[in-house]
Amino acid sequence: MIRVVLPTHLRTLARIDGEVQLDVEGPATLRAVLDALEACYPMLRGTIRDHVTQRRRAFVRFFACAQDLSHVSPEALLPDAVAIGTEPLLIVGAMAGG
């Protein structure tokens, strides 16, 4: 079970209280987690990564275990602590005012 923390506006959009818990089959990669997240909450499609290119939106960041995972390959394995659910994957709106 993988834990994901979404930014406030996406929690509101998806009507989620607190963090999301996802069962991810196979290797715990960023792509697998986002695929599982979007399968559970289809309204999040297009909000974190582009519908077509699947690239991360420019003002979205991925953090976990005090590391910035925004620029690692979507196919790379997430840290073990995220994969076993002791630490959450944080999906964050970039600090850009507004």
Binding site: P7, T8, H9, L10, L13, M43, R45, G46, T47, I48, H51, V52, R57, F59, V60, G93, A94, A96, G98
Partner: protein, 370 residues
């Protein structure tokens, strides 16, 4: 007794203002979608309880929200706006080619007859439509074939901001793009023609070019769909032949720069604009907020000032931020970048603020309910 529902889109959410037919006391609800930009929301003429909203964010992109109960509850529907094929390039501000990129939905125009059919004008400029209540969206790519490689962005981006449906000709649609101009289809979007003859624009290489004009908005009275009114970047224009040609009707306006233009609900020759100082000074002349009304379809204009601030006012009124209700006398509403929404229950003769301190207002629409 009739009620009036005013739908207000702002930089930080949507608001719904409701009143009885006297339009003297208002209930204000919202913000809906707080923190998100709501470029536009509009109700279906075929089912007034069906509303659509364009919700967007620089962080999380585009959403379309739909309500089936007049805005009390909402659900997100489809947000996948993908251009048909490879969209190619348009002109950038400096005239160089620039690839088409979807940014947001500026305007939603529900069908006159089917609550599940709706048109979406987007940036970078294109027209999409949905026939399943907003779940899926398809582009009309032939529009970009109307010299799209020569279109260029205005200061607000290269947006398709106006969609006008012809009630007498179901397959005819007028659209307007900044900065490309007005276009018309007569076959439900299969083919499109530029409709900009008579427009003259400084700031483009050929002031009389077929495309490239910064049209800010067009308006039509449904009883007379061959007559169109236009607020261009500069100039207020009129067409009496469904856009085939235009002539200027700025007349005695103090400045003919502005954004919205609207037509009285019951008098097809009574039109309204909000003059703005200039293209680089987006506030009213002399710090006085004036709505101007023409009862002659243009050229002869009168200032409507009663109840509007007449000193130290430096707000703007954006292109989709003015609307009329269908009551008699006709009500008129507009929102400002300062967060005020003003209403008039007497066709503009007098005004009062309905609400003063919203986020900057992007759009105002009105529903007149039985």
């Amino acid at each position: 007794m009739n009620t009036v529902r005013v739908l207000v889109g702002t930089r930080k959410g949507a608001f719904v203002l409701t009143s009885d037919a006297k339009r003297a006391r208002w209930n204000i609800s919202g913000p809906y979608f707080g923190g998100w930009e709501i470029y536009h929301l509009k109700g279906s003429p075929a089912d007034p309880q069906r509303l659509y909203a364009s919700q967007s964010s620089g962080w999380f992109g585009q959403q379309i929200q739909r309500s089936n109960d007049g805005g009390q509850t909402w659900e997100p529907v489809g947000n996948k706006f993908v251009y048909d094929g490879v969209p190619g390039t348009h002109q950038w501000y400096d005239g160089t080619p620039h690839p088409w990129e979807f940014k947001r939905v500026w305007h939603l125009e529900p069908s006159l007859t089917d609550p599940d059919t709706i048109y979406a004008g987007v940036e970078d400029a294109a027209l999409f439509h949905s026939t399943d209540g907003g779940q899926t969206w398809q582009e009309f790519p032939e529009l970009r074939g109307a010299q799209g490689h020569l279109w260029q962005p205005g200061a607000g981006g290269m947006c398709l901001h106006t969609v006008v449906l012809d009630p007498s000709h179901p397959e005819r649609i007028f659209i307007a793009i900044s900065a490309a101009g007005t276009f018309r289809t007569d076959d439900a979007g299969k083919t499109w023609r530029p409709m900009n003859r008579g427009l003259r624009s400084e700031g483009i290489p050929n002031p009389h070019a077929e495309v490239g004009h910064c049209v800010h908005r067009i308006a039509m009275h449904p009883s007379r769909p061959h007559v169109l009114f236009m607020q261009k970047h500069w100039d207020v224009m009129r067409s009496s032949n469904a856009g085939e040609s235009w002539h200027e009707v700025s007349g005695n306006l103090p400045t003919d720069f502005g954004f919205p233009i609207e037509v009285h609900a019951h008098e097809p020759d009574t039109i309204y604009v909000v003059p703005i100082t200039s293209d680089s000074e987006h506030y009213p002349p002399e710090g006085k907020l004036w709505v101007y009304r023409s009862r002659t379809g243009g050229n002869e204009w009168e200032a409507l000032t009663q109840g509007l601030p007449q000193r130290d006012c430096y707000v703007n009124v954006l292109r989709d931020a003015m609307a009329v209700d269908a009551l008699d006398p006709c009500g008129l509403y507009f929102g400002t970048t300062g967060g005020q929404v003003y209403g008039s229950a007497d066709a503009g003769d007098s005004w009062a603020p309905i609400v003063r301190d919203l986020p900057p207002v992007l759009s105002v629409e009105v529903q007149t309910l039985p």
